[in-house]
Symmetry: C2
Subunit: 194 residues, 2 copies
DNA sequence: TTAATTTATTATCCTACATCAATTTTCACA
DNA sequence: TGTGAAAATTGATGTAGGATAATAAATTAA
């Protein structure tokens, strides 16, 4: 069994499991190590999996027609990541997933999720709540992009991902904020002087 | 029974129902007429309902600390609307819902949704799929806000909400796009000349 | 450790969109 | 049907953040 009880309690927080449930979950989760720069999912691939990040850092991003990258989100320790839009419907990914800091992850397929949901219904509510939070975050992000300046968005980013700065490049942050690295540089300078 | 079979088939598309199911649904849906300017939901209210738009036009928006309005989305004929972020958890709304063109809607409470899901499971999948689509739209909107110019976003808006222009004011559209009415005016002029 | 390369900063100039102010157009309703 | 208010347009000017280019700092490789 690759997953220990303590690990499970981190993954699923307040949920507790019987030994059988634990074994079943363990049999469906695959542990993987990722090197920096590795692409877990390419845009246009069909999405069969979602991933739990044990440590390290990943990001989802898309490339526009000008060749510019845009970061949709980062995932650090204890976050789940996938192209959920495509994952839900097993269709082609819009975004790619890249490892930007050496990471350990658990990989679960959509199929196996169904099996788990069927056998352990509380997992289904767990993931439903996750999705609801994710939905709420997207909503807030849209409102933020409509109402906040680049500097305010940067502060919101630091709040949302504390301690992430050492894991990601400035240009990743810039591509998340929708600005250039030069602008981010100026914002950081301005903040440091105040 | 306030809802007819034909109405239900519009509401739930490809789903079909027995007479009992139909009666049950009808008993949980409340028909309402809204006047232009009516506020269906105020930010900070607890959200107990979601709404189906038969005709007319509503929008969800929030007001930032500068007093500026930002439109999160519009809902026209055959759209569902609520502050889903708050609806999911019966918590306080972040956005308000305003009727911007005289409308007829169906109102359903979260509680009654649970009853319906329990008795008619296919409704639960129906709404799950709706949410997934909504999630996907939010994701696309974020990527759009990162990668597109105001003019491109305006075109994307026209695509997403065809025939909506006669229902909404320019300043509603502007507040959806994250620009001023003046800028929108210039964009429209530019487009009309090309 | 140095050299090579990647990343971040800074400076200059530029552009998309904002702000403010003045009209013009549209629309509600008396 | 005319009139006042709301909405949209236009113009002048300002500004946040973009583009380009040069330099500096930090990583990585050798």
């Amino acid at each position: 069994m690759s997953i220990k009880k303590t690990t499970l309690s981190i993954l699923f927080k307040d949920l507790t499991f019987t030994d059988e449930e634990q074994d079943l979950i363990a049999s469906k989760f695959e542990l993987r190590k990722l090197k920096k720069g590795e692409i877990l999912l390419h845009a246009n691939d069909v999405v069969y999996h979602q991933y739990y990040v044990c440590n390290g850092c990943l990001r989802t991003y898309s490339v526009d027609k000008m060749g510019k990258e845009h970061t949709l989100q980062f995932a650090i320790k204890d976050w789940w990541i996938s192209d959920y839009t495509a994952f839900f419907t097993s269709t082609q990914a819009i975004v790619s997933i890249e490892c930007i800091q050496e990471a350990t992850i658990y990989k679960v397929s959509r199929e196996n999720m169904e099996v788990l949901f069927d056998k352990i219904p509380k997992l289904e509510s767990f993931f439903r709540r996750k999705m609801e939070k994710s939905f709420a975050n997207f909503q807030k992000r849209i409102l933020g992009s409509l109402s906040m300046s680049a500097q305010e968005r940067y502060n919101a980013f630091l709040n949302k991902y504390p301690d992430i700065e050492q894991s990601v490049k400035n240009y990743h942050i810039a591509s998340y904020l929708g600005i250039t690295t030069e602008s981010l540089s100026r914002i950081r300078k301005k903040i440091s002087k105040s």
